[in-house]
């Protein structure tokens, strides 16, 4: 312990650049949004009439309370965003985890061309989200899209004008699942490869059926990775934003003519931040609500997984 104390200033010095950047761009905004969420009629510019109190660092407000939260819960967009986000979270995450696990098992069993397939599955991870969005945009295009051409359904709108919520959600889901697979496959695969081969040899000698090898040996020994992937995927899915932008284009959260149809919680928060009037208060309240939801879900996951994860 003494050693650490003596060298404390060195460690601080080494961490300083990162701490400084994080203070400015992470810690302060977190604290600030926590404050702003409870300031009523908060105005960043500060048209200071005498009835308003001033906040340190600029801006004025007109009382402290839950008005921002009330406004959030009263807005239709918020509920649309919550519905869209929840559907994506609770369908796409389990789907990606299961598909990712299946592909990783397949890859692990393949001897030939394993490197090739690994690269193929990992490519989406290193490809630009917006570029992928453009590709999806063209694949699902109403007139010249690959899907409509192949299935002979030219004129069926997936993401263009007249698309239904279900069709747009399907495209979004395919995009999210496929885009999220790469990282999960890599984590699962490396996890599987670090499982001692002798467990499998022992299982083979004891004539263990394949399914039992998977469910009784692979999955439990992989459970810390599965938990890690599930929790980070849930958090990632709750923060869905760029996927919608990538598919439907900037500024819109849905097909032309129904621009807010596919809005997500982050999209909603982002919109609120730029709204005229009193933007930051409502946006901050929205992000606090999102934070609370993620916290709750993560907490539940940890509790549920306690008995099923074997470190």
């Amino acid at each position: 312990m003494l050693e650490y104390k003596k060298d404390g200033w060195k460690a601080t010095l080494a961490l300083a650049p990162m701490l400084l950047l994080m203070s400015v761009f992470t810690f302060w905004p977190i604290i600030n949004s926590l404050i702003m969420a409870f300031l009523e009629d908060y105005s960043f510019g500060g048209m200071a009439s005498h009835a308003y109190a001033r906040v340190i660092g600029g801006g004025t407000y007109n009382g402290i309370g839950f008005a921002n939260f009330v406004q959030v819960f009263n807005e239709k967009d918020f509920w649309v965003a919550l519905k869209n986000t929840s559907v994506m979270v609770f369908i796409s995450v389990p789907l990606t985890v299961i598909i990712g696990l299946a592909i990783a098992v397949g890859l692990n069993a393949t001897k030939k061309l394993q490197g090739f397939f690994q690269t193929v599955f990992f490519l989406p991870y290193v490809t630009n989200t917006i570029a992928l969005g453009l590709v999806f945009g063209s694949v699902f295009h109403i007139e010249y899209g690959l899907i409509n051409k192949v299935f002979g359904t030219v004129g069926l709108s997936w993401i263009n004008h007249g698309a239904t919520w279900w069709r747009a959600m399907l495209v979004l889901m395919v995009y999210t699942v496929w885009n999220g697979l790469a990282f999960k496959i890599i984590v699962f695969l490396s996890g599987m490869q670090s499982i001692d081969k002798q467990y499998y040899q022992a299982a083979q000698i004891d004539s263990t059926p394949r399914w039992r090898v998977f469910s009784k040996i692979t999955v439990p020994l992989l459970s810390p990775m599965i938990l890690y992937i599930t929790i980070t995927s849930f958090i990632g899915a709750f923060k869905a934003y760029s996927s919608v932008i990538a598919i439907f284009g900037t500024g819109d959260y849905g097909p032309v003519g129904n621009e807010k149809m596919m809005i997500t919680l982050v999209g909603y928060i982002y919109d609120k931040m730029w709204e005229s009037g009193t933007p930051f208060g409502v946006g901050s309240a929205g992000s606090l609500i999102l934070f609370a939801i993620i916290l709750l879900i993560t907490f539940v996951q940890f509790r549920v997984s306690k008995k099923r994860v074997h470190y």
């Binding site: 001692d196 002798q198 040899q201 004891d206 263990t208 020994l221």
Partner: protein, 372 residues
């Protein structure tokens, strides 16, 4: 074929419960590396292991003993040769069909299962009814003396206890052959002594044909009914441990067995006389052509006498409990030799002593083969 002598109940025809002899015929394993290099790990290896015996495969690292074990298990496919369990040719049979129990060097216990679940796992695979499986697992656990640890996880057990769980798991499905890979190498010295007796006891009680691999000659000699000494993938000698120790077929076997190790001294045969390099005649009447040879003398083969053929000067005296080991320098030669004598009351360092050898082995200097 012997019947198993335990009182474990029979659970029907799914679980095989007879010990069989194991026959390896011209077994060969060649590993091909990517660079095209060939490594002959096991070379034309043939042995017959009698049913119900405990056999130690002994040799230095890389001698092919583990490869042999894994071929018997079916985890390695032989390049040539065949393996028989009784009359059953298992050479191309997958491991799960062979009816073997294998205890891995690091035990390979499933860390997320309790001891009970670990032992029951093979039975569940064979679809043994749950109650029956529970009973069998408990009985097997009692046999290896871990009956009170059934609800623990492997990480909560000591090395010796894990070892027993691994043995119980291997035995619970009543295999025809039990294979143990370096069973004692992960245990500390004291536990090792205890566990090797335990393995011997379990093997006796179950009567199962058991083959284990070790690089520790003491371990192999202490519990095996017979040992097989291997080097460079080739069988050197197979016999009862004492017989191998007393009559090694070559210099490698002589050197590999025995602690402290055998003394190897250069010598020569001239006109049928065995002489040391300084022309001291040790013994006459050999029908061996004139040549340089090596002689092997185990430390306990020496006797301190008042008038002897060998003269040596004492360099060090080590009291090793019951006996005394003397390290001494041979006169007119560069070799130091180790001598074990019952007592060394009147010996001092730098003292010159006379020695007689009660027994010695003569080895060909080039091939190491022993002249008999």
């Amino acid at each position: 074929m012997e019947k198993v002598s335990t009182n474990v109940t029979d659970v029907g025809d799914k679980i095989i419960h007879q010990s069989v002899d194991v026959r390896l015929q011209n077994l060969t394993k060649v590993f091909f590396e990517k660079s095209g290099k060939k490594t002959v790990a096991v070379d034309d290896f043939s042995i017959l292991i009698p049913a119900g015996k405990l056999i130690g495969l002994l040799g230095p690292s890389g001698c092919g003993k583990s490869t042999t074990l894994y071929m018997i298990a079916g985890l390695h496919k032989p390049t040539a040769g065949s393996i028989f369990f009784g009359d059953d040719d298992v050479t191309n049979m997958p491991p799960e069909k062979r009816g073997i129990g294998l205890v891995f060097q690091n035990y390979a216990l499933y860390p997320h299962f309790t001891v009970r679940q670990n032992i029951m796992f093979p039975l569940e695979n064979l679809k043994v009814p749950k109650e029956e499986a529970l009973k069998l697992a408990q009985q097997m656990a009692e046999l290896v003396h871990i009956g009170d640890l059934m609800d623990r996880k492997p990480s909560q057990l000591s090395g010796g206890q894990q070892q027993r769980v691994a043995i119980a798991r291997a035995l619970v499905k009543r295999p025809r052959v039990l294979l143990l890979d370096e069973p004692l190498s992960n245990l500390d010295a004291r536990l090792r002594l205890q566990t090797r007796e335990e393995i011997k006891r379990i093997q006796r009680e179950t009567g199962i044909t058991t083959i284990f691999v070790t690089h520790d000659q003491e371990e192999a000699m202490s519990i095996s009914d017979e040992i097989v000494v291997m080097n460079y993938g080739i069988k050197q000698q197979m016999n009862h441990p004492q017989a191998v120790y007393d009559e090694p077929v070559n210099m490698f076997v002589a050197k590999f067995l025995g602690n402290p190790p055998i003394n190897i001294i250069p010598a020569k045969i001239v006109g049928g006389q065995l002489t040391l390099l300084d022309n001291t005649v040790l013994e006459k009447g050999f029908e061996i052509a004139d040549q340089e040879v090596m002689i092997g003398l185990r430390p306990e083969y020496f006797k301190i006498v008042s008038t002897g053929k060998i003269t040596a000067q004492i360099e060090m005296i080590e009291h090793i409990g019951r006996d005394t080991m003397i390290i001494c320098q041979l006169e007119n030669a560069e070799n130091t030799i180790r001598v074990i004598v019952p007592s060394a009351k009147n010996l001092t360092v730098n003292q010159k002593i006379k020695l007689n050898a009660t027994k010695f082995f003569i080895f060909n200097k080039e091939t190491g083969e022993r002249y008999k």
